[in-house]
Amino acid sequence: MDIRTLLDHTALSQTLDRLAYQIYERHLDFEDVALVSLQPRGVELGRRVHERLKKLSGEEMIHHGELDITFYRDDFRRRDGVLVPAKTNLDFSIEGKEIVLIDDVLFTGRTVRSGLDALLDFGRPANVELLVLIDRRYSRELPVQPDYTGRTVDVVKDERVQVEWSENDKNNRVTLFSEQND
C-alpha cells in the first residue's frame, strides 16, 4: 500500500485559515449565515472552520448544525446491510438563511446531492454554498461543484483520500492511499 501526504498539519491548518477567510470575505454580515456539516465526516472540519470564523468575525453567535443524510442516500437497498445513521442536530431555523454546507472530501457528488435534499426538508434557505476540504476532480457522477475548496487533487478511482483529525488537534493530516491489487 502506497501512502502519500497531501496536507500535513501545518498546511492543513493554513488551509482552514484560508477557508474561514474566504467565507468571511464573501459574507461580512453573519446574522443570517449558518454552517451545516454533513455527518459523519464533515463534522470535525465544520467545527474547526466555525471556531476560526467566530474569532475572525468577532461574532459569538454563528449558527452551526450537523446534518445526517443516511435516510436520503440513493444507494439504499443496493448494498448489503444498512448504514448506521448519525445524529442530526439543527437547532435553528434555516428559513431565509445563507447556508454553507460542509464536507471533507468531494468525490462523486452523491453525498452532496443527498445533503441538499435533507437540508431542504428543514425549510427554504436563501442560498446554499458548498465547502470541501478536498475536491477530487474528474470523478464526479453528478454536476456538483464546490464554492470553497481546500485543495484540488487529481486521483484515480481506486485511490482513497483520508482526512485524519487527531484528538489533541496537534497532528491533523490528509493522506492519499492507493491500494494495489495484484
Binding site: F71, Y72, F76, R79, G81, L83, V84, A86, F122
Partner: protein, 314 residues
C-alpha cells in the same frame, strides 16, 4: 465511510427469534426516526421504491394506523387489505392470498392474523420480508419493542428493573412478546392476574406468577396494565367486571395504600378507563402511555427501514 450493519433476520416474526444486538440496533435507529418525526417535514425518502402490503385478518385500529404512518413517513407505497372485504371469505388459503398480493410486485408484508404461528408458516412459503403485527395470543413484536423503548427513555438502562404485567395474560400476545424482550434486556418480569387468566407455562419462561395485586405492586418498579379482552371472554374467567376492578384495578389510592411513591405506568391500549386502570392514573405523572404511542411510529419506521435496507435479502 459510516459503519455497516444489518439485523440477524429477514423477517420480524417474534421477539423470541431476534438477538439483543438486533433490539439495540432497532432502538438506535428509532432514535434517529424520532428526530425525523419531530421535524417540520416529518418524512424521509428512504423507502421510495418499496411497496408494503398491510394485511389484516383481524381488526386493528392503532397498530394499523401506526404502521401505515411509519410506512408513509418512509415514503413507501402502501396498500391495505383487510379480511372482511376479501376473498378469504370465499375460501382462499393464506399462502394463496399473500402470493397473489406479492404477484403485484409487493416487497414487504405487515400482517395480523388470529392464528398463532401464521407468520412462521407464511415465511416458509413466500419470498419477501414479513413483519408480525400480532398473531393470536402468540407474539406482537413491535409492541414489545416500543414498550421497552419507551421505558428505556423514561428510566434508562433496564438491567435489573422489576416489571409487572397485570391482567389477561392468557389472551395477550403483548404479554408474551414483552416477556421475551424485557428479559433479553436484563429486566426481571413477573405477571399478576386472576389464576384463570394466567397460562400454565409462565413459570417455565422464568416468570414468577403473583396472584395478589397489592403484594405484586409493592415489588415492582414498573407496571404494565393489560386490557381485559371482552371479545375473548368465551367462558367466564372471573365473576364480574366490578370484582376484577376491585382486585386488579390500578388506582392512586391503592398505590398510596401499598406505600409506593414512584412507579412507571404503561398500557398497550385501548384503555378501559375505570376497569383495569382509573382515569386519574392513566393521565397521571406516572403514565408513559402517550409516549408509547408516539414511539410506536419511530420503532416501526426503524424495523421497516432495517428489514428493507439489506440488499442481500431482497
Amino acid at each position: 465511510m459510516s459503519r455497516m450493519t444489518s439485523l440477524s433476520t429477514k423477517h420480524l416474526l417474534g421477539i423470541k427469534d431476534i438477538t439483543l444486538e438486533d433490539i439495540n440496533l432497532i432502538f438506535q435507529t428509532a432514535d434517529n426516526f424520532k428526530e425525523v418525526i419531530n421535524r417540520p417535514i416529518k418524512k424521509v425518502p428512504s423507502l421510495r421504491d418499496v411497496t408494503i402490503a398491510n394485511v389484516f385478518f383481524e381488526n386493528s385500529t392503532r397498530t394499523k394506523l401506526s404502521f401505515e404512518l411509519a410506512e408513509k413517513r418512509l415514503s413507501a407505497d402502501v396498500i391495505n387489505f383487510s379480511a372482511s372485504s376479501s376473498s378469504v371469505k370465499k375460501g382462499e388459503s393464506l399462502v394463496d392470498t399473500v402470493s397473489n398480493i406479492l404477484a403485484m410486485k409487493v416487497d414487504m408484508v405487515v400482517m395480523r392474523h388470529p392464528n398463532p404461528g401464521a407468520h412462521i408458516h407464511l415465511a416458509r412459503h413466500v419470498d419477501c420480508s414479513i413483519i408480525n403485527a400480532g398473531d393470536g395470543a402468540h407474539e406482537h413484536p413491535t409492541q414489545a419493542l416500543l414498550d421497552a423503548y419507551s421505558l428505556r427513555e423514561r428510566v434508562g438502562d433496564l438491567k435489573g428493573l422489576k416489571i409487572l404485567i397485570v391482567g389477561d395474560i392468557l389472551h395477550s400476545r403483548v404479554a408474551l412478546s414483552n416477556v421475551f424482550c424485557l428479559q433479553k434486556l436484563g429486566a426481571e418480569v413477573r405477571v399478576c392476574g386472576p389464576a384463570t387468566l394466567i397460562p400454565k407455562h409462565m413459570e417455565s419462561l422464568g416468570v414468577k406468577v403473583m396472584l395478589n395485586f397489592e403484594e405484586a405492586l409493592k415489588w415492582c418498579d414498573v407496571v404494565n396494565m393489560l386490557r381485559i379482552q371482552m371479545e375473548r371472554q368465551d367462558i367466564q374467567y372471573f365473576p364480574t367486571l366490578r370484582e376484577y376492578t376491585m382486585q386488579y384495578g390500578l388506582s392512586r389510592e391503592l398505590l398510596y395504600k401499598v406505600g409506593k411513591k414512584d412507579i412507571v405506568v404503561m398500557h398497550p391500549g385501548p384503555i378501559n378507563r375505570g376497569v383495569e386502570i382509573t382515569s386519574d392514573m392513566a393521565d397521571s405523572e406516572f403514565s408513559i402511555i402517550l409516549d408509547q404511542v408516539e414511539n410506536g411510529v419511530a420503532i416501526r419506521m426503524a424495523v421497516l427501514y432495517l428489514l428493507a435496507g439489506d440488499a442481500s435479502s431482497n
